[in-house]
């Protein structure tokens, strides 16, 4: 509940402040967001499965974001940033879909 409220608070804050993304962060922000979404869906799934662990969630959230950013950064340094970020998005998308499928099964049994 707190988490949902915090999410809404963040959304509202973003809408209210409407900041501009610094150009140095621009390639990494979308990937970081997707990675964080992956962590969030994994956390929701774990919550529904009853195996949610706060510490694990925090660690997975941060590490997801960091690893995604590092991978994209490495890709940029290697000259394959576009392809690598696409790959990261694909992988995270697959994970998110898996988590969402599990959540859906858990909630709707379908």
């Amino acid at each position: 509940m707190i988490a949902v409220l915090a999410l809404f608070a963040g959304v509202l804050l973003g809408v209210w402040l409407d900041p501009t993304v610094p150009s140095a962060l621009q390639p990494y922000l979308p990937i970081a967001v997707v990675a964080a979404l992956d962590a969030v869906f994994g956390g929701v799934r774990a919550k529904l499965d009853g195996i949610f662990d706060d510490k694990q969630f925090v660690v997975s959230f941060i590490s997801n974001v960091l690893v995604a950013g590092i991978i994209v950064y490495l890709g940029d340094q290697l000259g394959v940033g576009g392809q690598l970020s696409t790959g990261v998005v694909v992988v995270l998308g697959v994970r998110i879909f898996g988590n969402v499928a599990a959540i859906r099964r858990r909630l709707f049994r379908a």
Binding site: A9, V15, P30, G98
Partner: protein, 310 residues
């Protein structure tokens, strides 16, 4: 994913199965479920029971939810400070996530432009734009060239027309077919003791031509004026001269357009026109005028033999 799909299929098969005889299903279920008499009683009503068999899974979600809420409340009750700390961290993380999500969405929807493009994409776009610019520049150059040609053609026509008109005027003045005006001299030959011979007038005309006269006419004492052109001839006739077939009597006035100083000097040179006319018993007066008018025109002559070369 494949595993989950299989799971889905398996679960679907169970509710779909009821088409078959209920007894067999109930029999099959009985050992697996290993639930007691409740299942047996439910086995009596077959269609109703088809659904209740599913509730087993339905029970499961309710159970986890209960379990989860229970565990949550339990944990929160159990050790509050640690959990609030992690909860705060989670809240902060999710708030940051929401914040970044919105920011990113805004950024992307704000401008779907180059700002978020990668370096190589930007380079490619830039080179594309360069090539496009090059093409457009070439096109511009071609169009400018054709425009210049067209306008220069029009201008050229205009200029040629004006040039031709100007030249026609000049030639008309030189040929004596057009009246002219400009700075020049009035040269008056007044016979004193005897008539001025035509040779003297011709000398004066030649001298004036040599001094750059551009248009001349000679006026007799009776006011008759004759344009002096290349074909004008001077003859002595009785009591006067015949200029181009026209008989004039003195005094003669030559109206000449040209540089006044030069012509005056040319007429006044020692042994020149003024001197010889004076020696022949005549008088020459020269007046410089800022504007003199040569109004007489020579009669037009249609060329009979000569044709332009081009």
């Amino acid at each position: 994913m494949a595993g989950s799909a299989g799971e889905d299929g398996a679960r679907r098969v169970v509710p779909d199965a009821p088409a078959g005889p209920g007894e067999r299903r109930s029999e099959r279920r009985a050992p697996t479920d290993s639930v007691g008499a409740v299942r047996d009683t439910s086995g009596v009503v077959d269609p109703e029971e088809g659904e209740p068999t599913v509730p087993l899974p339905t029970d499961e979600p309710t159970v986890p939810i209960d379990r989860q809420t229970g565990s949550e409340s339990g944990t929160s009750r159990g050790s509050r400070p640690r959990l609030t700390a992690t909860n705060v961290v989670i809240a902060v993380l999710l708030a940051v996530l929401g914040f970044t999500l919105v920011v990113q969405l805004r950024t992307n929807s704000g401008d779907a432009s180059l700002e978020s493009a990668r370096q190589e994409d930007l380079v490619r776009i830039l080179s594309d734009l360069d090539a496009q610019e090059e093409r457009i520049r070439q096109e511009i150059a071609g169009l400018e060239e054709s425009r210049r040609q067209l306008s220069s053609g029009a201008q050229g026509r205009q200029a040629a027309l004006e040039e031709a008109r100007r030249r026609a005027d000049e030639l008309g003045i030189l040929a004596g077919s057009l009246p002219a005006r400009g700075p020049g001299l009035l040269v008056t030959f007044t016979p004193v003791s005897k008539p001025i011979p035509a040779a003297r007038v011709l000398d004066a005309v030649q001298e004036l031509r040599g001094a750059g006269a551009e248009a001349m006419q000679i006026t007799g004492g009776d006011g008759a004026a004759v344009r002096v052109v290349a074909s004008t001839y001077f003859l002595d006739s009785d009591g006067g001269i015949s200029v181009g077939g026209r008989r004039l009597t003195g005094p003669y006035t030559i109206v000449v357009i040209g540089d006044p100083k030069t012509m005056r000097t040319a007429l006044n040179i020692p042994g020149g026109v003024v001197a010889s006319v004076s020696g022949d018993g005549g008088n020459v007066t020269i007046q410089e005028r800022d504007v003199v008018e040569v109004t007489a025109v020579s009669p037009r002559r249609d060329l009979q033999y000569a044709r332009p070369v081009s």
